[in-house]
């Protein structure tokens, strides 16, 4: 049908033709501008590099550094860092570098999965509430308020403690706990996103271009996703970035309290938890995983900070 469509387009006037011709060379899109501004933010670039390095190291590292994470060696238990064990060993003589890399995979995966879940929920709730308004808005925002008043940490600990065993039986120890933690973190953190999105929708849906879209018969779904959502996405991207770091911290906190992954799944928080009793004999057991958590969270926060500046179209450089 493409031919019938182009047939209807009026021939371009000389100026329009020149614009159409020149546009690709000088195209300045919103995202292009954002990227240019982001690159100028040196700390944000450092954060992005660091985070990519950590992610890459966790994902690809075990293929290069092929030491098993669970090989026991009581002869070399709690050995300080050396050439054979760059991060030392733990109380069972297991290699810490291998465990830290493996733990990074899980911690970072939890961070992203929980972020995706909370952002999806927040986008859905916020856009529906903001777009349809009236009773739907009222009901959804009351739900949001209730969720905001829930005591997050007690509820988090409680849910995981109570549902840990049954979900483990269904999905297996690793996958079961993974989805439980992701689900609980995501399910308790979507509210700020929902509010941001709703506020954005309330502003944008009154704009003329939405009226124009409506007048040519664009349906509500397409209006929401195609026309309004791209305009409210900037603050959501920033808060999504920051929530990856927050989710990594929450997962580590849960594991640190002994309510996260089982002992044979070494996430960064779990490694710290295991190290607690050996702080006097083997401080390296705590330092390396702790350092990884800090580096990951710090670098993500710097990326979020840079994105906040970069995605603000009112900022002029």
């Amino acid at each position: 049908m493409a031919s019938t469509r182009s047939d209807r387009v009026a021939p371009l006037g000389p100026i329009a033709a020149r614009l159409a011709y020149e546009r690709p060379r000088h195209a300045r899109t919103l995202w292009g501008d954002a990227w240019r501004r982001f690159r100028k933010h040196r700390l944000a670039m450092a954060g992005a590099t660091m985070f990519l390095f950590l992610t890459f190291g966790s994902v690809a590292g075990p293929f290069v550094y092929r030491v098993p994470i669970n090989a026991l060696n009581f002869g070399a238990s709690m050995a300080p860092p050396s050439a054979a064990h760059p991060f030392g060993t733990n109380d069972l003589g297991q290699d810490m570098l291998a465990r830290v890399m493996y733990g990074g995979r899980i911690s970072i995966a939890v961070g992203f999965a929980a972020m995706l879940m909370s952002v999806t929920l927040g986008l859905l709730m916020g856009s529906i509430a903001g777009f349809f308004g009236r009773t739907i808005d009222l009901v959804l925002m009351r739900i949001t308020d209730v969720f905001l008043s829930l005591p997050a940490l007690p509820l988090l600990l409680l849910t995981i403690y109570l549902f840990r065993d049954p979900i483990t039986r269904v999905l297996g120890p690793q996958l079961g706990i993974f989805w439980l933690i992701v689900g609980v973190i995501g399910g308790l953190n979507w509210m700020p996103t929902a509010r941001l999105v709703r506020a954005g929708f309330l502003g944008v849906k009154e704009k003329e271009f939405i009226e124009a879209a409506r007048s040519v018969g664009v349906g509500p779904v397409k209006q929401i996703f195609r026309h309004i959502m791209p305009n409210v996405l900037s603050p959501v991207i920033v808060s999504a970035t920051l929530s990856v770091g927050a989710a990594i911290i929450t997962e580590s906190t849960l594991s640190f309290l002994g309510l996260g992954f089982p002992p044979d799944v070494p996430t960064w928080g779990r490694l710290l938890y295991d190290a607690q009793n050996y702080l006097d004999l083997a401080p390296h057991m705590a330092l390396f995983p702790g350092l990884m958590i800090c580096l990951a969270v710090l670098s993500i926060n710097y990326v979020g900070d840079g994105l906040r500046d970069a995605l603000d179209p009112t900022r002029v450089f």
């Binding site: 308020d145 209730v146 008043s149 829930l150 005591p151 940490l153 007690p154 509820l155 600990l157 409680l158 849910t159 403690y161 109570l162 549902f163 065993d165 049954p166 770091g245 911290i249 580590s252 906190t253 640190f256 309290l257 002994g258 309510l259 928080g269 710290l272 190290a275 607690q276 702080l279 006097d280 401080p283 705590a286 330092l287 702790g290 958590i293 800090c294 969270v297 710090l298 926060n301 710097y302 900070d305």
Partner: protein, 314 residues
């Protein structure tokens, strides 16, 4: 104003009812049997188990259990701990002083650090001090408390032997009491002050560019007076509400910090109760936390209105 407060309090009631239903529902629907240990014991015949269940009212449907629970909770009867057979209220009151002392001090110190640092770094924006403070706040905010706590134990207890790393309530010697509180207080103060400094700074920056500040300067006021009397008074309004919103943790405990330093506060009570399936205690702590959050949310809005005459409540 009174009408506003009354209306907010009235809308808080359904919110709290829903929250209590959620918490109760999670506990009631959770798989697992509160008498699981009895069931596993071959010496206890099933009839006896059934009798105990009946006595505790656990054989009734969940909605009826909820109504009974809510009615007795509202009259102040919070039940007994399964683990220690002590009334839940007394258990909580035992733990509260430790939290007020350790966490309260942490918060006070955090405010005392954050406000001056935030103000100075906003007033001298982009100065060396501002950059040091902003970076420090950013790092302090990104470091999880469990890592700073562990780090402090390694440095000050394990290496330097300056401070004890286990908090002991039996200690009554004032010097030792102070020494054992240093690290938990410092961990909390570091994190809170970092978060708060960022807010103070941005709130002050929102105000220093305003027209009324130029007017104050044009009147010939000294810089210090402009900052303290004009900018600070406006800049602190959102900060006061932020502090009010964070107050619940003073009562419900800082779970992580208490866990690291073995501080016997409400937070560690929560953890042990969850691990012991001590439902009445868990329920009480979670619900008290919810009440505090809801009430302090209202308080924050009321304070905001009282401090900022531009805001009128209808």
């Amino acid at each position: 104003m009174t009408r506003y407060i009354v209306r907010r309090l009235l809308t808080a009631v359904p919110t709290l009812v829903i929250i209590s239903m959620v918490i109760f529902g999670i506990l009631a629907l959770a798989p697992g049997d509160p008498l699981g240990q009895l069931a596993a014991n071959p010496d206890v015949p099933p009839e006896v188990r059934q009798n105990i269940l009946h006595q505790m009212g656990l054989d009734q449907p969940i909605p009826i259990r909820y109504v009974k629970w809510a009615a007795s909770w509202a009259t102040g009867n919070w039940g007994y701990s399964f683990a220690s057979h002590v009334p839940v209220v007394r258990l909580l009151l035992q733990r509260l002083p430790t939290d007020l002392w350790v966490i309260g001090t942490g918060y006070v110190i955090a405010v005392l650090i954050a406000v001056p640092v935030g103000v100075i770094s906003a007033v001298k924006q982009y100065s060396l001090l501002d950059q040091v403070a902003t970076t420090g706040a950013f790092i302090g905010y990104s470091l999880p408390t469990f890592f700073t706590g562990v780090l402090m134990i390694i440095v000050f207890s394990v290496r330097l032997h300056w401070l004890p790393f286990i908090y002991n309530v039996q200690v009554h010697d004032p010097v030792r009491m102070l020494k054992q509180a240093v690290m938990p207080v410092a961990v909390l103060a570091l994190f809170q002050s970092a978060a708060l400094t960022r807010f103070v700074r941005s709130s002050m920056l929102d105000n220093v560019g305003q027209d009324y500040v130029r007017t104050a300067r044009a009147k010939g006021l000294a810089q210090s007076r402009v900052i303290v009397r004009h900018v600070l008074r406006n800049g602190l309004i959102p900060i006061v509400t932020l502090i009010a919103l964070q107050l619940p943790t003073v009562f419900t405990g800082a779970v992580v910090t208490e866990q690291i330093f073995r501080v016997p506060g409400v937070g560690s009570l929560l953890i042990t109760s969850i691990q012991n399936s001590d439902t009445p205690v868990v329920m009480a702590i979670a619900f008290v936390a919810a009440i505090l959050v809801v009430l302090l949310n209202i308080a924050a809005d009321v304070i905001y209105g009282a401090l900022d005459p531009r805001i009128r409540y209808g």
